[in-house]
């Protein structure tokens, strides 16, 4: 009886892993690293998590979690509330709808998919931010942040694969 309870708890904890990873990444992404020039090109770690889990285990990262992760991002970075939530939700939906194209494909194809998605997300963010601000914003920093995001995706994808192996295969 006791072990059943523990098993269940363990299962719940594992089911929550993708959402918790996304929350953790949002928090980690605002920790000041004191690396010259880094703060201007902070990559979108949350987008990586959303892309990976929406592709591989959408059942474990519900849209509500994506929404909350986006809001947390907006709050911690001090940006206009709702922008990141909207972007991540759209990214989640787009990834889900293109899932068949990328599942079981080589990593390069998946990476290319992320490149496309991140570009879309960056453009969307630039447009929303400019609208919210009421004027065009210099796009240069966004371009660098985008390049950074795409460049370090493999590193996080590798970590996500490790995490995914510990998850129960109910889908």
């Amino acid at each position: 009886m006791k072990s059943a309870v523990w098993q269940r708890l363990d299962l719940v904890a594992r089911m929550l892993t993708p959402s918790l990873i996304a929350v953790a990444l949002v928090i980690v992404s605002v920790v000041p690293l004191h690396i010259p020039g880094y703060s201007a090109v902070i990559p979108s770690l949350a987008l990586m998590a959303v892309y990976y889990w929406a592709l591989h285990r959408p059942d474990l990262l519900p849209a509500a979690a994506v929404f909350l992760v986006g809001l947390l991002h907006d709050i911690l970075t001090g940006g206009p509330m709702g922008i990141q939530a909207l972007i991540l939700l759209v990214a989640y939906w787009v990834t889900g709808s293109q899932r068949r194209l990328f599942l079981e494909k080589s990593f390069l194809v998946v990476w290319w998919g992320f490149m496309m998605l991140a570009a879309g997300a960056a453009i969307m963010q630039w447009i929303l931010m400019s609208l919210s601000f009421g004027a065009l914003i210099i796009p240069r920093p966004a371009v660098f942040a985008y390049l950074m995001t795409v460049a370090i995706y493999p590193l996080f994808a590798w970590a996500f694969v490790r995490a995914q192996r510990t998850l129960p295969r109910v889908a």
Partner: protein, 302 residues
């Protein structure tokens, strides 16, 4: 058990799919609603923001400590390498500063005498709260910091945030144990300033780049590279005379100011309460009323 769960899930799949679609649409609309409400009235979500930030601040505090330590070690090793040359520079600077010091003492004495003559009422002494930076929003669109001091420690909205080198921003949101500092490099930052040498008035505007722009400088104002920029005290947000930076270039894109602060090394900040009118309602109004000016178009094209 897994088997049974699998069966239940198969049966419920169509219903779930429909529910999921509705949930998704609902969430999407919620995000848009949050965005619009937040834009219409920035104070709507302030309470939520502050609560979330207060809750996250301890985690950020714990995470940022080891990172800061590593950064310090790296910095120290680097400084070790340039120790000799730096020593020489510092010695030179020390001689220069001592000359300045004696001059400052003379001026101070004279100042006191003159104040006595005029029965001048001095401004109330400032109160300082030291805080550690626990988060750097970074990214391409927002420039702000979170610090580990809040209302409990005497931090209030509108207070100036300075580091040794000069002004870096103002307190924009205050929680119990944490606060957000809107940096002078943020898009929403507009600070009334003076060119120290000529006393020409202008507004220092952030545009997300490390350097800021001077707006509304009158056509006949005398500015040259190297001129000091200080707060003017207009608008009542900051006291007059806080050092910010120097004019770095004057060109087609306007006058740019290089702040004294090194953006990559802000570890601790001082939040300064001047006991004055560091009002809460003043700053957002300033930020919002001037965002649509035509000068922005120039920066967008850079």
């Amino acid at each position: 058990m897994a088997n049974r769960q699998g069966r239940v899930q198969r049966l419920a799949a169509p219903i779930r799919s429909l529910a999921q679609r509705f949930t998704f649409l609902f969430l999407l609309l919620s995000a848009v609603a949050v965005l619009l409400f937040g834009k219409a009235d920035p104070t709507v979500f302030e309470r939520t923001r502050v609560v979330v930030i207060d809750a996250t601040a301890p985690v950020l505090d714990a995470l940022s400590r080891p990172v800061a330590t590593v950064a310090e070690i790296v910095d120290e090793v680097r400084q070790l390498a340039i120790l000799r040359s730096e020593n020489a520079t510092l010695r030179e600077e020390n001689v220069r500063l001592q000359a300045w010091r004696s001059m400052a003492q003379q001026v101070e004495a004279e100042n006191t005498r003159l104040r006595d003559l005029l029965r001048y009422v001095p401004e109330p002494p400032a109160r300082y709260v030291a805080a550690r930076v626990v988060a750097d929003s970074g990214g391409a669109f927002v420039r702000s910091l979170l610090v580990n001091a809040g209302g409990r420690d005497g931090v209030a909205k509108g207070q100036a945030a300075i580091v040794g080198a000069g002004l870096i921003g103002r307190v924009a949101e205050v929680g119990q144990t944490s606060a957000r500092i809107l940096l002078i490099s943020d898009l929403n930052s507009r600070i009334p300033v003076l060119v120290a040498s000529s006393r020409s008035r202008a507004v220092l505007a952030g545009d997300n780049s490390p350097q800021q722009r001077l707006l509304y400088l009158s056509a006949n104002a005398q500015v040259k590279p190297g001129d000091d920029i200080v707060t003017s005290g207009h608008g009542g947000v900051f006291p007059a005379g806080l050092r910010i930076g120097t004019v770095s270039s004057i060109g087609k894109a306007g006058v740019r100011v290089a702040p004294f602060v090194d953006w990559d090394r802000i570890e601790d900040v001082l939040l300064v309460d001047y006991g004055g009118s560091g009002g809460s309602a003043i700053t957002p109004a300033i930020a919002n009323s001037q965002t649509g000016e035509p000068a922005r178009g120039i920066s967008a094209g850079q």
